[in-house]
């Protein structure tokens, strides 16, 4: 039995209210989806047109769907955390300490890895090829593989509901030695390890692929300094990915060796060094928050220029600023543990390097303001998200600089002030950027414009809700409330502020409901909201030169780029792209990525439960698929000019 099932026993099956609930919910959802697909006879369509597609536009949309589902999951966690904190005065509440810790750990991991990263990869997949005038990514296969590994990680992290019933409880970074075998003996930690390993490898592959694409696949005439800012920002972000994700993979692997083979990297015995883990994980962790942020900065630059009807002011300095942020942020990680005792000089160096990041960030801010100056500004929803971001992000930047002062940080570290800081950055910066990008590019994805009124409601509810819920956390932090606390004495006087915070969360939920309603209403009335031009915002960059949604080959004729804001210039010169079609090659769809990801999923599952025969079988399966693929050279097919013409005529 032990050989067959490893640590997996009947006792691991769900028996608590939340695991039973999760299991039942997931099972019902799955049955529902399967029934729907079967009834509508959609399986074939799903498999051929979507799952095995290598079209980056479709993969982009699949990223959005998975990320949105994970957003709901992470949002539920957030609600549970908040509720417990409201009820936690005088040792009340409905969650045990262990369960509370599991929830905030899952919340952080899911929001960072599966929500924000997922949305960003979705945008990059869809938009970058269009912006640089390419028909595809450099390696379509790596792209599907990366996507499916991300999905495998996302499913794996939800599997603990069904098998094991416990998740990691050591915070989203699983700091050692708390994450070691001694203090976290259960499988929860291993779920954390393997879902990050699997999706992290997917992210690295994605990073390599996007760097190749941006450096090698640009349309003729598009020099680096003519690239749209979103593409530039993504390039910076992806360079950071390939620099720091290997550190994550290696560090988590070492943690796993400690747990699996009884090694002593981060243990408190036999000479292990737990502080090394803190260093290594933050060498990845800090850059990671900028990996999330930088593409969002790129989105904002596109939005400002478009809705001000002007070219982005200070293009060159913006590019330099993006690169500077990317580089400097590799050298500031120690600000996350000033209190660990590295000495005053080391703390000072890292404190100052952290504050320096505020300079390039401010450069961008000024460039946006100058872009708006004397522009004819249109306040459509994307622009509102941008303006909300400017306000929120400025506050977050200032609190960040405050935290970067070591003596201040000794007070504020691990308090709710810190929690408020990074949520200001991640929500007000990255998430608002995602919303801005979503409302900006949605007409491109679908050919349908979004209902503006609901979008504006969503914006106002979000930003007000955000401040109502995180404003109190700043104050609570200053009052001395530590983070990750599920119970406290009511004489602290914290409870009223927690209540306000929970109300803010409610307002955010209403905002989210408006976002969903906006999409539903717009799609329902797609006739009314249809955009037939492909260029609803009077756009400036090449993605707006195609129809909406673009044909699967993006461009029938690869455009010649003569200037920055290529499409704007084309419109000004009044030149239509001429239609002399030529044959070209397009990649074929493939299911290899899915198969490999399935094996990777079961590999992870087997390693979590110590079912080693299954792990070995899956590893061999992956190797076999890779070898098989090397023998299968014909991955492309010829697209004939006549066919292109046929598709183009139908527009």
């Amino acid at each position: 039995m032990e050989f067959l099932f490893g640590r997996l026993t009947l006792g691991a099956l769900p028996h608590e209210w939340f695991t039973i609930g999760g299991t039942v919910f997931m099972t019902l959802a799955m049955i529902g989806v399967v029934a729907f697909l079967t009834r509508m006879k959609l399986w074939k369509w799903l498999w051929h047109d979507w799952l095995t597609s290598i079209d980056p536009k479709k993969i982009g949309i699949m990223y959005f769907i998975v990320a949105a589902l994970m957003l709901v999951r992470g949002g539920l966690d957030a609600g549970m955390i908040w509720l417990q904190q409201v009820m936690g005065a005088s040792s009340g509440g409905y969650l045990s300490a262990q369960h509370f810790q599991e929830i905030f750990t899952a919340h952080g991991v899911i929001m960072v890895f599966f929500v924000t990263m997922g949305f960003l990869f979705g945008f990059m997949n869809y938009i970058i090829p269009l912006q640089i005038g390419a028909r595809d990514l450099a390696s379509p296969f790596l792209n599907t593989l990366g996507f499916w590994l991300y999905v495998a990680g996302a499913i794996l992290i939800n599997m603990f509901f069904v098998f094991g019933g416990e998740f990691a409880a050591a915070g989203w970074l699983s700091i050692a030695p708390l994450s070691g075998l001694e203090y976290s003996p259960g499988v929860g930690m291993d779920y954390w390890i393997w879902s990050l390993q699997i999706s992290g490898i997917g992210t690295t592959l994605g990073g390599i692929n996007f760097i190749m694409t941006i450096l090698k696949m640009r349309a003729p005439g598009m020099t680096l300094m003519r690239m749209p800012i979103f593409t530039w920002a993504s390039l910076c972000s992806m360079v950071m990915v390939v620099i720091v994700f290997p550190l994550l993979t290696a560090t988590v692997a070492l943690l796993n060796l400690d747990r699996l083979l009884g090694m002593h990297f981060f243990t408190t015995t036999a000479g292990g060094n737990a502080m090394m883990y803190t260093n290594l994980i933050w060498m990845w962790g800090h850059p990671e928050v900028y990996i999330l942020m930088i593409p969002a900065l790129g989105v904002y630059s596109e939005v400002v220029a478009t809705f001000s009807g002007k070219r982005l002011a200070g293009y060159t300095s913006t590019v330099i600023a993006l690169n500077a942020i990317a580089i400097i942020s590799l050298f500031v990680w120690l600000h996350h543990f000033f209190t660990m005792g590295s000495g005053a000089n080391v703390n000072a160096v890292f404190g100052i390097s952290t504050m320096i990041i505020a300079i390039p960030t401010a450069v961008q801010l000024f460039n946006w303001v100058f872009t708006m100056r004397k522009g004819r500004i249109r306040f459509d929803t994307p622009m509102l998200w941008f303006l909300g971001f400017v306000f929120t992000f400025s506050v977050g930047g200032m609190t960040g600089v405050l935290l970067a002062v070591p003596p201040a940080d000794f007070q504020l570290h691990n308090s709710l002030f810190l929690v408020a800081h990074f949520h200001t950055m991640v929500i007000g910066g990255a998430l608002f950027g995602i919303f801005a990008g979503f409302s900006y590019w949605f007409p491109k994805f679908t050919g349908i414009k979004l209902n503006e009124r609901l979008g504006k409601y969503a914006f106002w509810f979000w930003i007000i809700g955000f401040w109502v819920s995180f404003g109190p956390l700043y104050i609570l932090g200053l009052m001395g409330a530590p983070r990750r606390l599920e119970r406290y004495d009511s004489v602290t006087g914290w409870q009223p502020l927690f209540v306000v915070s929970l109300i803010g969360f409610g307002i955010i939920c209403i905002g989210t409901a408006f976002l969903v309603a906006q999409i539903i209403v717009s799609i329902k009335n797609r006739k009314k909201y249809a955009d037939l031009t492909g260029d609803p915002w009077d756009g400036r960059t090449l993605e707006w030169s195609t129809s909406s949604p673009p044909p699967f080959y993006n461009f029938a004729v690869i455009p010649e780029v003569k200037n920055r804001d290529a499409f704007w210039e084309m419109k000004k010169e009044g030149k239509r792209i001429k239609s002399k079609y030529e044959d070209f090659e397009m990649p074929k769809g493939t299911a290899t990525g899915i198969y490999i990801a399935i094996f990777a999923f079961f590999f992870g599952f087997a390693m979590i439960w110590h079912i080693f025969w299954l792990a070995i079988a899956c590893a061999l399966g992956i190797v076999a698929f890779i070898i098989f693929r090397t023998f299968y050279e014909n991955t492309e097919y010829e697209m004939k000019a006549a066919e292109v013409e046929k598709v183009e005529r139908m527009r």
Partner: protein
């Protein structure tokens, strides 16, 4: 023709991949450097270091790199037979190296110096086996490549694969030189 040209971007991707690999090695080197003296009263690197043995390992790897380079030259000269011989020789040298490493490990383990004994031994075993694992991947890769060449001849795609393999194999050599210097020489002599 156009198709082959567009495949050249694989090299950029492969180089980036190599850099990510190098960064993982960097983490292992760094942890090794931190934990090198955390022997917890157990065996130290000075007692592990057996100069002739490690020297032979080094020579094997250096030779294999040289042989691998020759294979590429023959491939470019379209000499299929010699390409196959030299690639096979590369793989055999890789296997010989792996054999020696496994011997060293089992020797250590049999004397009770397991990776669970001390942080130093954990770091030592991990760094070396990560390199050894790469050598294993390389030899499997060569084997597959030999099948490809035997089946289809020296197609441009196969020559490209030999070039990629060359990058990989030389890279492992460089990493080994670092292991040789940092782990063995600096640890065993200083």
């Amino acid at each position: 023709m156009h198709k082959e040209e567009s495949k050249e971007k694989v090299f950029l991707g492969f180089w980036i991949y190599m850099m990510t690999d190098l960064l993982m090695f960097a983490v292992l080197f760094a942890t090794y450097a931190v934990l090198k003296n955390s022997t917890y009263g157990g065996i130290t690197i000075r007692e592990i270091f057996d100069p002739p043995f490690v020297l032979v390992e080094t020579l094997i790897l250096l030779t294999s790199s040289f042989v691998c380079g020759l294979a590429l030259l023959f491939a470019k000269a379209m000499d299929q037979k010699k390409t196959i011989y030299f690639l096979a020789a590369t793989a055999l040298l890789g296997v010989a190296f792996l054999g020696m490493e496994i011997y060293e490990f089992s020797h250590l383990l049999s004397e009770g110096n397991s990776y669970t004994q001390s942080a130093f031994l954990s770091a030592f075993f991990t760094l070396l086996s990560f390199h050894g694992f790469h050598i294993l991947v390389g030899t499997v890769w060569i084997t597959i490549l030999l099948v490809h060449i035997a089946m289809r001849g020296l197609l441009p795609s196969n020559i490209r694969k030999i070039r990629l393999l060359g990058i990989f194999w030389h890279f492992l050599d460089v990493v080994w030189i670092f292991i040789f210097t940092i782990v063995y020489l600096l640890g065993g002599i200083l």
